[in-house]
Amino acid sequence: MSRQRLNSVLSENEQNLDKVWEWYLFRGSLIGEEAVRTLEALLAGLPPSSPRYFAKTKDEINMLFDEQRHELSQVAMLVLLAAAEAALRVDYILRIIENKKDGVSKGFVALYKKQQLEVGLEDQLLRVWKRQPSATAARKSAMGDFRGALKLASLASARALLEAAVGTRVRSTGCVRHLRCVAQGHVDQVKREPARSGCDGRTTQFAYKPNDSVL
């Protein structure tokens, strides 16, 4: 594709990071307000606002809202990472169109000549950014954090797929093998071998921390 026609691949529909963050805060505040309303009704001896809370204890209601917050933060993390990737890819295209002479733009033009739009995020786009002599330690560190978050996101999304496939919640500790099965589309195998907390020595254990700030 010629550089002049690259504009046509930009949809202008990519997720805006600020909008995603605003959505996350908004949904989080709705959950918080519903939690307060429900707990206030419980303490006042009033009927709950929704039958879904009927006959639950305070601890059970708190646990329910904790789970909702956790799920929301997971979804928000995935959307934020997708939005960040979209922003980086849009920037890649814009730099090629504008043909600037800075190091990053030159690196992208060279990459485009070889691979056009078929470029990897982690191993190609981020590498160009990281190679720049002008990249500060803080910027390199941020890129490292972003790459780490991408790895965690792939684990988290595999977990979500697994849960959707087997219809149950995956425990905090599981086997990478099971997640890989899902990632490779071997859902039947996952169903035959449900994730378990104790794995044999041939499989790698990972410590999945639901309360981790990233997750």
């Binding site: 429900t38 009704a41 419980l42 303490l43 006042a44 001896g45 009927p47 709950p48 929704s50 039958p51 879904r52 809370y53 009927f54 006959a55 639950k56 204890t57 305070k58 209601i61």
Partner: protein
């Protein structure tokens, strides 16, 4: 200024503590008594004709900790049939929309019985999309056991 606001903030929080006009000890005792009556109904009414095929154990006690009431001991009911045990385990009285609750656990799953002051005991059939309660009768008790046992 901020110190005054902080004081007011915590004064309001303190005012939200337990409603003063509730006799929590009486509520606890009434709850324990209601659970024993439920077990009597189950044992002497619903299961009257089935006693030769099951064992009933009412010796178990559990400690429940509840806000405003503290720790108290309350009986559980276990029904053993073949190699299966169904356990009736009281949950408490501080609940959203119900006076009290007993959880029922078997090999297949769990169910919930709630007590409403005027309506007596009822099985929670569903919460969503609409709350469905079925008054506890011998027929519903059979349905309950079928839903939690293998």
């Amino acid at each position: 200024m901020a110190k005054n606001q902080l004081n007011e903030f915590f004064r309001e929080k303190k005012a939200k503590v337990a409603p003063a006009d509730i006799d929590w000890a009486a509520k606890r005792d009434s709850w324990i008594c209601a659970v024993e009556k439920l077990y009597d109904t189950i044992e002497k009414d619903y299961l009257a004709l089935a006693k030769n095929n099951l064992k009933i154990d009412r010796s178990r006690q559990k400690t429940v900790t509840e806000q405003y009431i503290g720790d108290y001991s309350i009986g559980e009911l276990a029904i053993a049939a073949g190699d299966e045990i169904v356990l009736f385990s009281p949950k408490g009285v501080n609940l959203a929309g119900a006076a009290s609750r007993v959880d029922v656990r078997g090999d297949r799953g769990e169910a919930m019985i709630v007590r409403q002051p005027e309506d007596g005991w009822a099985l929670v059939v569903s919460r969503t999309p609409t709350l469905r309660l079925a008054p506890l009768t011998d027929e519903m008790f059979l349905e309950l056991l079928r839903s939690v046992m293998r």
